[in-house]
């Protein structure tokens, strides 16, 4: 028996479960129903309920969670670990619940490493099942509350889960008070100053509820003494400052402050695996798009860039990433199940900085967005599809920035072709 072959060490039923699950995934893929990672995992788990634990045993697992940046950070960590020269299992297509994680591991039975994006709600169960070496906590803010738990409750569950996982290192964003509170129960924490652009969900101390005192990125509680922990990694402009205090230029291909933060987090994780910062950075710079995000596509002579944002904090960061005026912008919003069926969150985003720009509005819930923009006195034009948007701008601009929430983004990707 090959000691490096993890699958050969699985019990018979688990091996059968991965085989049948893998076959189901292949069928699903061939039938054009997505990448098959969810159905494969579901079938595997039905045959062997402990399949995920069995598949995770003997691997070094990284779980990545947070409201925003999970998919991108998972991709960046996977890149940062490639200098190790070992196989890495990862759910890069964003299937981030138990079935998706199971499927990712069963598709890479021999990979000794795993970097797994994990839905916020599933962290306690997934920490238990996979016994991770590292858990990454990025941020917590309001998101799809018609189906997700409330975020103070999520933070408490993370806190409890990490308190009972003594072998695990947590890499956490010290700038997000809720995340810091959740992470501080862990035995070992690497604190990263990953920034917090959206602050509307952390006015109050997660520990005692008092109004937090804020000074730049620093925060503290006047009542219970809770404060921002001292950080060992930091984003400073376009530079990362590592634990030795040395500054290095990031020079990423991915745009925006949020992605620079995600890269710093990835470097901190890579260090926990013994990867040198320069080797890791070389890999991070090669990442140009993540599951269609930031992809540039040309359609009918128009250069289109696709941006995804799913909630107020994500929109705030994405509005920063938009190309400068006069580049026209198409905003598009749906409210299907994966988006959250409630569009109230539109009222948490400040659109006033779009005043004076050429703004187009699309998506299944374009009227919700239209009324929102009207209240912020942002002029716009309604369009029914991407071609109407191209027609509307082609006389004035060769480019179009598209910012959409989840299913609206996927619909555009389907029309524009699934390029990486």
């Amino acid at each position: 028996m090959d000691p490096n072959n993890h699958r050969s060490r699985l019990p018979v039923r688990a091996r059968l479960a991965t085989t049948v699950g893998g076959a189901a995934a292949t069928v699903s893929r061939l039938a054009g129903k997505g990448d098959g990672s969810v159905i494969g995992g579901i079938i595997g788990l039905r045959l062997e309920p402990d399949l995920l634990s069995l598949l995770a045993a003997d691997r070094q697992v990284v779980l990545v969670t947070g409201t925003n940046g999970k998919t991108t950070t998972t991709r960046l960590i996977t890149a940062a670990l490639t200098p190790l020269g070992q196989g890495i299992a990862s759910n890069m297509h964003g299937a981030n619940m138990e079935a998706g994680l199971t499927s990712a591991l069963s598709r890479a039975p021999d990979a000794p490493l795993a970097v797994l994006e994990t839905d916020e709600k599933y962290i306690p169960a997934m920490v238990k099942a996979t016994r991770p070496k590292v858990v990454v906590l990025l941020n917590l803010s309001r998101d799809q509350m018609d189906r997700a738990a409330e975020i103070w409750l999520l933070a408490r569950r993370w806190r409890e889960a990490l308190a009972s996982a003594p072998g695990c290192r947590v890499v956490a964003n010290a700038d997000d008070p809720l995340v810091a509170w959740a992470a501080s129960s862990a035995a070992q924490v690497t604190w990263v100053a990953a920034g917090q652009r959206w602050r509307e969900d952390s006015w109050c101390c997660p520990n005692c509820g008092s109004h937090l005192l804020r000074d730049g990125d620093d925060w503290s509680c006047g009542e219970c003494g809770g404060r921002r922990p001292p950080v060992s990694w930091m984003l400073y402009g376009d530079q990362v400052i590592d634990p030795s205090g040395r500054a290095t230029q990031l020079d990423l291909a991915l745009p925006g402050r949020a992605n620079r933060s995600n890269a710093v987090v990835a470097l901190a994780v890579a260090e926990a695996f013994g990867v040198h910062i320069s080797a890791a950075l070389r890999e991070l710079r090669t990442v140009t798009s993540v599951a269609g995000r930031y992809t540039q596509v040309t359609r009918r002579g128009c250069e289109i860039r696709l941006l995804l944002a799913k909630n107020p904090a994500g929109w705030l960061e994405a509005l920063d990433v938009l190309a400068a005026p006069p580049a026209p912008v198409l905003l598009s919003v749906n409210a299907q199940g994966p988006d959250g069926r409630d569009t109230s969150w539109l009222w948490d985003v400040d659109y006033r900085r779009l005043r004076g720009r050429n703004v187009l509005v699309g998506g299944e819930r374009k009227l919700d967005l239209a009324v929102r923009l009207e209240a912020d006195e942002v002029p716009f034009r309604l369009v029914n599809n991407i071609d109407e948007a191209i027609d509307a701008v082609r006389a004035v601009s060769p480019t179009l920035e598209v910012l959409a929430n989840y299913t609206a983004f996927q619909q555009y990707r389907a029309v524009l072709g699934r390029t990486q």
């Binding site: 309001r142 409750l153 109050c204 109004h211 109230s344 969150w345 009222w347 948490d348 009324v371 912020d376």
Partner: protein, 237 residues
């Protein structure tokens, strides 16, 4: 002319989901009619000014809801304003806070502000989804359309009247939705409840500022289209 004073109470604790929308809608509809508006956003570490015209309270999770209630009780500004006839509009958690008591984080009942004769507790299931409700004819406000996301069950006492009767959705849990007494009004329609219900926004403005000139139709066109789209989606045929 003395400006209309809008006071948003505790956006740091009670603003879970787009609650700013109610402030923006009131502000816009007042300004379009030439009424000057002054807005105060009052965080939980600041005193609530007692001289406002319309007070707004939003939704929140269990713990912030309890904290907000304690602070409002200690502060006294909202109570003083309500007792001299100011308009109070509260949604979801804020609605419960106005009442005699509500269900807290650990299952224990928490005393509310007592501005509305309602008692709220925790229901068995979370009510999540679109809600449609017909408003008390005495208020002369068109049918409500909105989104609810709460686990509260509310019973009205003799001192409060139901705001509306539900056609779709859960509301208070007994076929009624929301409550009002005098110029204090609460609803389970969460977040930006006034966006799809400009008639309700105008009722609050009327209570605060007296008779209002109608808006030019184009200023309302999008809001009315959105309203119709949502009503048609929820009540087909």
């Amino acid at each position: 002319m003395r400006p209309l004073r809008l006071v948003w109470i505790y956006p740091d604790l009670l603003s879970t989901y787009g609650d700013r929308g109610n402030l923006l809608v009131l502000e816009r509809r007042a300004r379009l009619r030439g009424l000057p508006v002054e807005v105060a956003e009052v965080n939980s570490d600041q005193p609530v000014p007692p001289d406002g015209d319309i007070y707004l309270m939003g939704g929140g999770e269990d713990l912030p809801q309890t904290l907000a209630t304690r602070r409002l009780q200690a502060d006294g500004g909202l109570r003083e304003a309500a007792s001299r006839g100011a308009v109070v509009f509260a949604v979801c958690a804020g609605y419960q806070v106005l009442g005699m008591e509500f269900g807290g984080a650990d299952g224990a009942q928490v005393p509310g502000l007592g501005l509305l004769d309602i008692r709220s507790g925790r229901g068995e299931r979370r009510a999540v989804g679109e809600i449609v409700a017909d408003v008390d004819p005495a208020l002369n406000v068109p049918r409500l359309t909105g989104f609810e996301n709460h686990q509260g069950v509310t019973r009205l006492g003799p001192g409060a009247r139901p705001l509306a009767r539900t056609t779709a959705g859960t509301g208070n849990g007994d076929g009624t939705e929301g409550a009002y007494a005098g110029r204090v009004l609460g609803t389970y329609l969460h977040g930006p409840a006034l966006v799809r219900n400009p008639g309700l926004a105008d009722l609050l403005l009327y209570w605060a500022a007296g008779p209002l000139p109608p808006l030019p139709p184009q200023a309302e066109e999008l809001a009315q289209r959105l309203r119709q789209e949502r009503l048609t989606a929820i009540l087909p045929g």
